[in-house]
């Protein structure tokens, strides 16, 4: 298994896309912090990077990589290796390389420039979001053999989680603003890993506003220690559930 992971990582490094991704993240992060006079503004820019670019790159790169290595997977399957082992090695290899890219590119400047509590939260959320979207890519690509269709699904999923979901939520809020829908909204937003990550970072970034009158909702659900644990649990489910579904599909799949 270790040898497959090693091979996947080396293959990704040879591919150079992840290296370029690392450099872009690094250039962006360093310049953002160097240009702005207060680190909060830089953090806001990086918040958008974590919430938009990181999931986009993770989901699309993983999907394309999976399709491109379909022949390699077939070759491996002809060897006496378990299917779950191959699938898991691919998952770990992809996740590790993307995490490494995020940590080196964005993580180091964040840790250097931003206040420790916000930077740690942002780092953790960036790492989790990367993994979640690798997992979602696995789910998307196991459904179809068609590469174009697979990439389409990946982009659609990203669009849904990053943009459409919030729009729908906002629409819901406006439509039902006469009703006490706070709990419902909290519950629905827990169904989107990007929203969860955003709220967790927000609790540290805009702490004065979050402790305000809406704070009751936030603090009860997300701000408290048990709330953070619940959020982390949900995000872990987001990492493993799509992967688990894709694995059961992959096991039975006729290649």
């Amino acid at each position: 298994m270790n040898r497959i992971i090693k091979f996947v990582i080396l293959d990704i490094l040879k591919n150079k896309v992840v290296v370029v991704y690392t450099f872009i993240l690094a250039a962006l992060s360093w310049s953002v912090f160097a240009l702005e006079d207060n680190s909060t503004k830089g953090l806001l820019t990086l918040l958008n990077v974590v919430l938009l670019i990181v999931p986009l790159v993770s989901v699309i790169f993983s999907t394309i990589y999976l399709y491109n290595s379909s022949e390699f997977i077939e070759l491996l399957l002809s060897q006496p290796v378990k299917r779950s082992k191959i699938w898991f090695s691919l998952f770990i290899g992809l996740s590790l390389s993307l995490l490494f890219a995020f940590f080196v590119g964005a993580g180091i400047p964040i840790l250097i420039y931003a206040p420790p509590d916000v930077s740690l939260m942002m780092l953790v959320m960036g790492i989790i979001i990367s993994t979640v979207f690798v997992s979602i890519a696995f789910l998307g690509s196991v459904f179809t053999r068609d590469k174009a269709k697979g990439i389409g699904i990946a982009i659609l999923l990203w669009l849904f989680f990053a943009l459409l979901f919030d729009g729908l939520l906002l629409f819901l809020l406006f439509q039902f603003s006469d009703y006490p829908i706070e709990k419902v909204v909290v519950f629905i937003s827990a169904c989107n890993p990007i929203d969860l990550a955003r709220i967790m970072i927000l609790l540290h970034l805009d702490v004065s506003a979050m402790m305000g009158y809406t704070g009751a909702v936030f603090k009860d659900y997300f701000g408290s220690r048990s709330g953070s644990v619940v959020v982390l649990l949900i995000l872990t489910v987001w990492v493993f559930l799509p992967y688990a579904i894709s694995l059961s599909k992959f096991k039975k799949k006729d290649l």
Binding site: E182, A209, F218
Partner: protein, 411 residues
């Protein structure tokens, strides 16, 4: 003849200035303060030496100077008001006053001043009293350098640190108040100054101000009070160089102004409050050279406010700079620095060429539907904000700063 007159004068002046020193303590003439007060004449100085004095309620009914040496402890045994001052020009200095009684009808205090002029209360330590220092119908009294501390948990169970009622020309200087209900409470107090006090961790307000005209509070430090500072139903208040920090919560404001008019707010720092300044029914106020930093809402100006001028302030790193609850705008913003401003300055006069609209559409949305805060900083919301900036529809378009500064003011 003239010599006799001089002798007479000398004798007479000696008689006039016949102020004795009276000592109270274990090995002194008097062992209780009560006795010493009873036996001394107006104008005497009573020196109280180290020790614990549990004498119930001490009443100073003549002009005395009470000085504690090494902080003698006056203990109210949780039953009595400790020290009642009922004479003009009394001086209380250097005592440790603790454990006053608790009663909601007559408000027992550490030190209470009844209808007196020129009383000075300086350098005392007040610990665990119901009310700390209470001045009622006082004139020209000085409360200076006292350390007042209580351990209140509930609003109903504890009184105020310095409570002033129906008084005039007071000086409240350099006190440190914590753990009371309101740090400093002013009701019907006029022409007074509150200067260099520190008021923090109080259950309700750091400073509570009602019906008190023509007062000034200068260089005070208010931190982490239950609901910040409230100034209500008052005119002609001057607020200079105060700091308002970390007042977090549902109805917590750095500074809450309710029914205030003709006042002047300058040089203050509002740091990390849920709301920096909250204005309601506030008229003709000039707010300039203040710094609003890292607040949830820099200012909340309700639609009931009129003719206020907000100029030359710094708004840095606030979640929302300004918000309001209506569409009428009767206040002016001019020449402030907004860190969210991204206009340009072609003529290089250090003010931006494009007007700045400090009211973001999302702050309006949150005002109407508070749970929308859950979506803050989401990409959708950013898009909404951007489109609103280009074509305002939800936000009143004359809510505007026409001369936004490009660089922050050195405040």
């Amino acid at each position: 003849m003239i010599r006799i007159f001089y002798i007479f004068l000398l004798f007479f002046s000696a008689f006039l200035s016949q102020a004795n020193n009276v000592h109270v303590g274990k090995s002194q003439v008097f062992s209780t303060i009560k006795e010493a007060i009873a036996k001394s004449n107006a104008g005497d100085t009573i020196w109280v030496h180290e020790g614990i004095y549990r004498e119930g309620n001490l009443v100073v009914d003549k002009r005395l100077i009470l000085i504690g040496k090494n902080y003698p402890i006056l203990d109210g045994n949780k039953k009595h008001e400790v020290l009642s001052v009922k004479a003009d020009f009394t001086c209380v200095k250097g005592f440790k006053i603790q454990h006053s009684g608790y009663a909601s009808l007559d408000d027992p205090c550490g030190i209470k001043v009844y209808e007196s002029r020129g009383v000075e209360i300086t350098d005392n330590i007040l610990d665990d009293n119901f009310f700390g220092i209470y001045i009622q119908y006082g004139k020209q009294c000085v409360v200076k350098n006292n350390r007042i501390r209580a351990y209140g948990v509930e609003e109903q169970q504890i009184g105020n640190g310095i409570h002033c009622w129906k008084s005039d020309s007071l000086l409240i200087i350099g006190n440190r108040i914590e753990g009371h209900r309101d740090g400093i409470y002013f009701e019907f107090v006029t022409n007074s100054v509150i200067w260099r006090n520190r008021s923090f961790n109080n259950i309700r307000y750091g400073l509570h101000f009602m019906f008190s005209n023509n007062d000034a509070y200068i260089t005070n430090y208010f931190k982490h009070n239950g609901a910040g500072v409230a100034v209500m139903f008052t005119k002609n208040v001057k607020m200079f160089n105060n700091s308002f920090e970390e007042n977090w919560g549902d109805a917590a404001y750095g500074l809450m102004l309710k029914e205030i008019s003709d006042s002047y707010i300058t040089g203050n720092h509002f740091l990390k409050n849920t709301t920096g300044i909250y204005m309601e029914g506030t008229n003709r106020i000039l707010a300039e050279h203040n710094t609003f930093q890292a607040n949830g809402w820099g200012m909340k100006i309700q639609a009931s406010c009129m003719d206020n001028e907000i100029r030359s302030n710094n708004f840095i790193g606030n979640t929302f700079d300004v918000s309001t609850n209506g569409s009428t705008v009767l206040n002016t913003f001019n020449g402030n620095y907004w860190d969210k401003y991204n206009g340009y300055d072609l003529d290089r006069n250090k003010t931006g060429d494009v007007p700045y609209h400090p009211l973001s559409v999302f702050s309006v949305i949150v005002e109407q539907t508070p749970p929308a805060m859950l979506l803050f900083r989401s990409f959708m919301v950013d898009l909404l904000d951007k489109s609103e900036k280009i074509a305002p529809s939800l936000t009143p378009d004359h809510f505007v700063d026409n001369q936004p500064l490009l660089h922050s003011l050195p405040l």
